[in-house]
């Protein structure tokens, strides 16, 4: 074994010779930035070897480093093998940084009908005159205390084995935990004495980036703890595709373990906050996208990422939580949300549940934006859905100074029409380091309104202003001068950045229109638009409409659902009736494959304009832009 010590935190880990430093770091609990999934492609997992023997092909990966960096021992953690005891310096930039994670869902009065209940029973000990077996004695006792009928309860062997000793040891005063399962009632647990006040459940949003857990007291119907952390699978690849590829190469076990570890550490910290025992959690409800759910359950997702994109399972699943390693009561159950397709997963079903669109006559449009986007249109009678790639631009990728919603990201911005001087706020109010998605949408709308860019996003370089300039013939707009920033560089947006942003917004809008055409409705028939996911929460609704990201409807009819996935998971956790409806909802949703839709490309081109080629679709935006143009002269 070799000891690897990670600096500056002095975390130590013992590994066998030949292990990659990335693997060692992951086992030491360091979350490194591995965009490519550890394939030596992205050059993000930079570490510096301070001492010790390693194996690294500096020639092959030299392009990621300067000569000076190499001389200081720089290498890629994923491509460097441990040969001897090591001291490895991990720069801050290599670690995944704290991100604005969305925990709060929309406040919704929740109908409280939990599926797990505890019954405290005091039984008469058996006598020669009353020699009925322990089990029937217990079940009758439960029935008499208001529980389900004795014959309808099933007791698994694991609990049965414990019954005689617990009954006698506790002097016939016990608490039984009864859960409602698909086949009827099940006795999940038996404890000594009265523990009937301690029954908890966890609602989990298993996102590909973050995991959020809500801990519920299933007796009082209150949230007792909330926690979130990164999905540790990020160390195996930032996006889903990279992770599935990782699984194909290295097997699914590691990803399955990381998924449960991510959930477990969030559950643990929520339990610590609430001061409760993990063993008192009897139920865990997980809403995750289709690939995440497959990985969590240890089902091979390999066939989902290639045509014809078929998942292994789409219906809701109930399994014993312990079988997949979830840290809760060993007899606790786990409920995983159903999916519609590879791309419309349990997280979207949870969004639908959260916004209630499946219960209303009015038509709603639900949009979940990330690197991929999902759109659902419909009401209680019908629903259509589709998904596609929005490209990374809205999350700050493929944009020169784009960044995730980390501290220092410009998140809101306005531009003065006269001076073209921007006013912005950054996350944590520190000097700007870059721009995140919500800032980019503001920027696009403001540049359009101030006529800096035309409707195709081209910068008008004839405007005489120092902020508009050309670098090597490429026009750009300066948002912040070097001296105002935290990075000592002018923060700019280039014409190319704008083009990428327009491509992203066009694909989302085109998807909305494709569903509307499929359903044969116009934008006037959409009563509400819901934004789900972190992104929706921070973006400016008016600006999102101005650039034509979404169809134009009344601004006050656009709602941010927040983290709809966790809201949906909460609802399903505390209301057993809802769980039954989920499969119905999932089955009702028609999935439109955009790749197979000829009209989509046409809609895309027509959406690749600000706000849209068909200006009649955006009458209010059009009016506003006309005014802006007239004011400019």
């Amino acid at each position: 074994m070799r000891t690897v010590t990670f600096l500056p935190s002095y975390r130590k880990i013992e590994v066998v010779r030949g292990t990659t430093i990335l693997d060692a770091a992951q086992r030491a609990g360091l979350n490194m930035n591995v965009v490519c999934g550890g394939q030596g492609k992205c050059g993000k997992c930079v570490v510096y070897i301070q001492s010790g023997k390693t194996e690294f092909d500096a020639q092959k990966y030299g392009r990621f480093f300067t000569a000076e960096e190499l001389s200081k021992g720089a290498c890629l953690a994923c491509e460097t093998l441990v040969q001897g005891d090591l001291q490895v310096m991990v720069p801050e930039s290599t670690l995944i940084q704290e991100q604005k994670i969305l925990i709060e869902g929309e406040d919704n009065p929740i109908d409280f009908r939990p599926s797990v209940k505890k019954y405290f029973v005091e039984l008469h000990p058996p006598t020669l005159g009353d020699p009925s077996p322990d089990l029937s004695r217990l079940l009758w006792g439960i029935q008499k205390s208001g529980g389900p009928e004795a014959e309808k309860m099933y007791v698994p062997l694991e609990v049965l084995r414990e019954i005689p000793s617990i009954l006698r040891h506790s002097d016939w005063k016990v608490t039984a935990t009864i859960g409602l399962v698909p086949g009827g009632y099940r006795c999940i647990d038996l404890q000594e004495n009265d523990t009937s006040g301690r029954v908890y459940g966890a609602a989990v949003d298993l996102g590909s980036t973050t995991v959020v857990v809500y801990l519920w007291d299933l007796v009082s119907g209150k949230v007792v703890g909330v926690a979130s952390n990164y999905n540790k699978q990020i160390s195996c690849g930032e996006d889903i595709l990279a992770r599935v590829n990782y699984a194909r190469k290295n097997g699914l076990t590691r990803l399955q373990t990381l998924a449960t570890e991510s959930i477990n550490s969030a559950i643990t910290s929520a339990c610590n906050t609430a001061g409760i025992d993990r063993d008192d959690i009897y139920e865990v409800v997980v809403a995750g996208n289709t690939v995440m759910t497959h990985m969590l359950l240890g089902i091979d997702p390999a066939y989902m990422i290639a045509e014809p994109y078929v998942p292994v399972v789409r219906r809701a699943l109930s399994v014993a939580a312990s079988r997949i390693g979830i840290a809760c009561n060993p007899n606790g159950g786990l409920f995983a949300f159903p999916a519609v397709s590879d791309f419309i997963g349990g997280d979207i079903i949870a969004d639908i549940l959260a916004c209630g669109m499946a219960e209303r006559d009015e038509i709603s449009l639900l949009i979940d934006i990330g690197t991929n986007f999902e759109v659902v249109l419909g009401n209680k009678e019908w629903m259509f859905s589709c998904a596609g790639a929005a490209g990374p631009a809205l999350e700050g990728g493929e944009v020169l100074f784009g960044m995730r919603a980390n501290p220092g990201a410009i998140e809101k911005i306005t531009i003065d029409a006269g001076t073209l001087n921007p006013k912005f706020t950054t996350i944590n109010n520190i000097k700007p380091r870059g721009i995140c998605g919500s800032g980019l949408i503001d920027l696009l709308a403001e540049l359009l309104e101030t006529c800096v860019i035309d409707r195709t996003g081209r910068i008008n370089t004839e405007i005489d202003n120092p902020r508009i300039r050309k670098i090597n013939h490429f026009p750009e707009f300066v948002i912040a001068w070097a001296k105002e920033t935290d990075i000592n560089k002018d923060i700019v947006i280039t014409e190319n950045d704008i083009k990428n942003l327009i491509m992203s917004k066009a694909s989302i809008h085109a998807a909305c229109v494709t569903l509307m055409k499929e359903a044969g409705i116009s934008r006037h028939e959409i009563s509400t638009i819901y934004f789900a996911g972190a992104f929706g929460n921070y973006l400016d609704k008016k600006n999102a409409t101005t650039i034509g990201l979404i169809p134009e409807i009344e601004i006050n009819q656009i709602h941010n659902l927040g983290n709809g996935a966790v809201v949906g998971a909460n609802i399903a956790l505390v209301n057993r009736r809802v769980r039954k409806q989920l499969d119905e909802i999932a089955h009702k949703i028609g999935y439109i494959e955009l790749n197979a839709e000829n009209a989509f490309m046409d809609e895309y081109t027509s959406s690749s304009f600000l706000p849209h080629t068909d200006l009649t679709l955006f009458p209010e935006v059009q009016k506003m832009l006309e005014t802006c143009r007239l004011r400019k002269g």
């Binding site: 081109t605 027509s606 304009f609």
Partner: protein, 318 residues
């Protein structure tokens, strides 16, 4: 069998005036008002549409021109003015389209020559003039301004505006009251977007002619045809941002393999046939101006248009 050709269209193609006669303050012998159609051309039992105009393309540096044309036209190609005269009197074109290929020479900077060439061609021909300017963003602005200035009062048609470069040509057109060719790569949405961009910087609809980009027959013309058809249908259905006349120049025709590698003895016939069929098809799709490079194509097209032309009177329908 007769088809019901009442489509219920309500739109009309906008009219664009090309060339200015003395009465209008110019020096042209004639001027054209193109557009104005309310249906597709050459339909029986429907209001007659004006016959498409034929523009003959010449250039001021024949190095950039097809050898087929250089061989056929001979010495003419070395004198832009003689060539323009021939286009008018010998070839009987409706319009002359001058390509300023001289500006394609690397590091071209002799902007003054542009003005001289335009002036010379304007005096050599009395036909309305289309000018295809530079293709280099760096000199666009100066070239277009010089063209515009030299042709002031003549209502030129200036080409070519694209989504990526339209400001300088629009500035020249606005300053000297010329019209603009707006070219987009075979896509109805991109065509419309460019028209909106031009409108928003002040170019009036009646100063825009759409160039949908014309692929050569067998080399993508079917896409051009389909885009033109969609553009025209949208216009006739009332989309004013697409209700402009169209211009087609299937210049690629002379460089395709079948034409380039044709038997020298019949190379002119092959070139003319290819240009002719592409031109006829473009006219059927609704183009108001067909541009050709081979002189022999002009007569054939004229004959074909006359043959296809139908009367608007219902009496003639069998």
């Amino acid at each position: 069998m007769t088809h019901d050709l009442s489509f219920g269209w309500t739109g009309t193609i906008g009219e664009v005036t090309l060339g200015a006669t003395r009465d209008d303050g110019g020096t042209r012998s004639t001027s054209y008002r193109i557009g104005g159609g309310t249906t597709l051309p050459f339909l029986k039992n429907a209001p007659a549409s004006p016959t498409p105009l034929i523009a003959f393309e010449i250039c001021d540096n024949p190095d950039f021109w097809s050898p087929i044309i250089r061989n056929y036209c001979g010495d003419l190609v070395n004198s832009t003015t003689d060539w323009a005269k021939a286009a008018t009197s010998d070839y009987q074109a409706d319009l002359v389209k001058l390509h300023l290929t001289s500006t394609k020479v690397r590091n071209f900077s002799d902007i003054a020559s542009v003005q001289k060439t335009v002036e010379a061609v304007l005096s050599a021909t009395s036909l309305p003039l289309i000018i295809e300017g530079s293709n280099e963003p760096k000199i666009d602005s100066e070239v277009f301004l010089k063209c515009g200035e030299a042709g002031e009062g003549e209502r030129l048609l200036l080409g070519t505006a694209e989504a990526g470069r339209y400001r300088s040509i629009a500035a020249a057109a606005l300053a000297y009251n010329h019209s603009i060719i707006a070219q987009s790569p075979i896509d109805i949405n991109l065509a419309k977007q460019l028209n909106i961009l031009l409108r928003e910087i002040g170019v009036q609809r009646d100063h825009i002619v759409i160039d949908p980009y014309t692929g050569s027959l067998g080399y993508g013309f079917e896409y051009s045809y389909s885009a033109m058809e969609r553009i025209r249908f949208s216009a006739l259905k009332g989309d004013t941002d697409l209700a402009m006349p169209m211009i087609c120049s299937a210049a690629d025709t002379l460089t395709i393999k079948e034409v380039r590698e044709a038997d020298p003895a019949s190379i002119d016939d092959v070139a003319v046939a290819w240009e002719f069929y592409t031109g006829v098809a473009a006219a059927v799709a609704g183009a108001e101006i067909i541009c050709v490079r081979h002189p022999k194509t002009i007569g054939l097209l004229r004959e074909a248009f006359a043959g296809m032309k139908t009367s608007s009177t219902a009496a003639e329908v069998p």
